[in-house]
Amino acid sequence: MSMWKHHAIFEKNSLVLLVGILIVIAIGGLVEIGPLFYLKSTIETVDGVRPYTPLELAGRNIYVREGCYLCHSQMIRSLRDEVERYGHYSLAAESKYDHPFQWGSKRTGPDLARVGGKYSDDWQRGHLNDPRSVVPGSVMPRYGFLAETPLDFAHIQEDMQVLAIEGVPYTPDLIAKAKVDIKAQLSPDDPSVADLVKRYPKAVAHASLGGEAGPTEQDALVAYLQMLGTTVDFKLFDAKANWR
């Protein structure tokens, strides 16, 4: 086949090979990256998805730090068995404020995309402290130290500023009130919770176990876990319009 004769040109001239590689990568890049500039077709229009509250964001940082994504996915795939077990399949819109997203692909533990509200705060705490106490066959490590580690949220406003640059709608007002909101979300009986919910619809306040010492890392992680998958009301979601 004479075609292979021309192939020798690439094999013998490194510069030609380089140009060839660039052209091939450029095509791949255009096909894969190009459409991302037209995100309207990628991310559905869904009501309810909101940015994380500062406390949830702090909890998310701990989730990322501890590498929870190495065993838990946050992506319910559009397969019958998954929808039967975990609930409605995940929407792109539900992780549009995740930088980086925590979809994961490893399921040593169950998917967590809709774990929010499924179990009580006490269960989440007990399970983090000693997973075997509630799930006898669990292989999850203990994360009891989170309950003893004070939450360091000194830089939460910088976190929010960076996310705002990446497109998360954290307004200067939300950023300014970040530390107030962290305290509010850990004071369920405080009137300040109403303001928090105004800023972050459906936010739920959780009792802190940190007491006088202030919030713990576990408080933040539980707040994050308890909101996962709770923002979208699927009764209002037009699934058929978003088939893809």
Partner: protein
């Protein structure tokens, strides 16, 4: 690839070499087996079909939908509809029947228990245990002792609205923190704990002091005879079934700090037929009232 201009045939095998030589070693350029090569070409040709039949080419503002109109979300919706159709007869009967009718119909009750069991495994087992046996802080559902009542309607109410869940129809009512809130002194708590232990483990010791404290502080919820009250979720204290532990130290801790476990409201997460099935399953677990 074969460089035909410098064809160099290896004498021993009769195969062309690559034309390179490293310290006297030459590399044979054995051609790919024909059967393999043609299967590769056939696959390439086959793949072109997918471009036309399935969503393939990303474009600004969308992508080519493909002639079959297939979407992964459409596919899962169809799968779920098929599943619903399979279950339609029996799930339809669950929807139409009252809990009592389901429990009374052997065939429907059997389906409800099987359907409920699979939902229980996913949703309830993490707290109540894979067989409903519970653990410290999470009620045992197999003992026919019910915090909020063990009749079908009561179980259904608990599953749908939860306990201390924030649902306006959920069960409310906490065990007060008698110690922390300064209602009882440490001594009184010790006395009443000893009395409560004596209710299920008879003792010859004098617990009359504790009995008096009990009558004044605990009886309004737990009842004069300590048999509990499902209306406020007050457990029966005369059995050996304990939610948090029945030893004196644990009871003292309960009295000091109070208790109030949370159960989520499942009404917003599960459909009515599943809740009915769960109710019948849980009811059967404990023997049912």
């Amino acid at each position: 690839m074969v460089d035909n201009t410098h064809q160099d045939i290896d004498a021993a095998t009769g195969t062309a070499t690559t034309g390179h030589e490293w310290d006297g070693i030459k590399e044979l350029n054995t051609p790919l087996p024909k059967w393999w090569l043609y299967i590769l070409y056939a696959c390439i040709v086959w793949s072109v079909g997918y471009w036309f039949l399935y969503p393939a080419i990303p474009l600004p503002g969308g992508h080519t939908p493909g002639l079959l109109g297939w979407t992964s979300r459409g596919a899962v919706t169809a799968d779920l509809q098929e599943l619903q159709a399979q279950r339609a007869t029996l799930v339809g009967q669950l929807n139409k029947s009252t809990l009592q009718q389901i429990a009374a119909d052997p065939k429907l009750a059997e389906f409800a228990r099987a359907y409920g069991r699979s939902s229980f495994g996913v949703n309830c087992a993490p707290c109540h245990g894979s067989n409903g046996q519970g653990s410290a802080g999470y009620p045992n559902l197999t003992a026919d002792r019910w915090l909020w009542g063990g009749k079908l309607d009561q179980i259904s109410q608990t599953i749908t609205h939860g306990a201390r869940s924030g649902d306006p129809d959920g069960h409310e009512g906490n065990m007060p923190a008698f110690g922390k809130d300064g209602i009882l002194t440490k001594d009184q708590i010790g006395q009443v704990a000893a009395y409560v232990v004596s209710l299920s483990t008879p003792t010859t010791a004098d617990v009359s002091a504790g009995q008096k404290v009990f009558a004044e502080n605990c009886a309004p919820c737990h009842g004069d005879n300590a048999k509990g009250n499902p209306d406020v979720g007050a457990p029966n204290l005369t059995t050996k079934i304990w939610l948090y532990g029945g030893d004196k130290a644990t009871i003292q801790e309960t009295l000091t700090n109070g208790r109030g476990g949370h159960m989520p409201a499942w009404g917003s997460k599960l459909d009515p037929a599943t809740i009915k099935a769960l109710t019948v399953y849980v009811h059967a677990l404990g023997g049912g009232q």
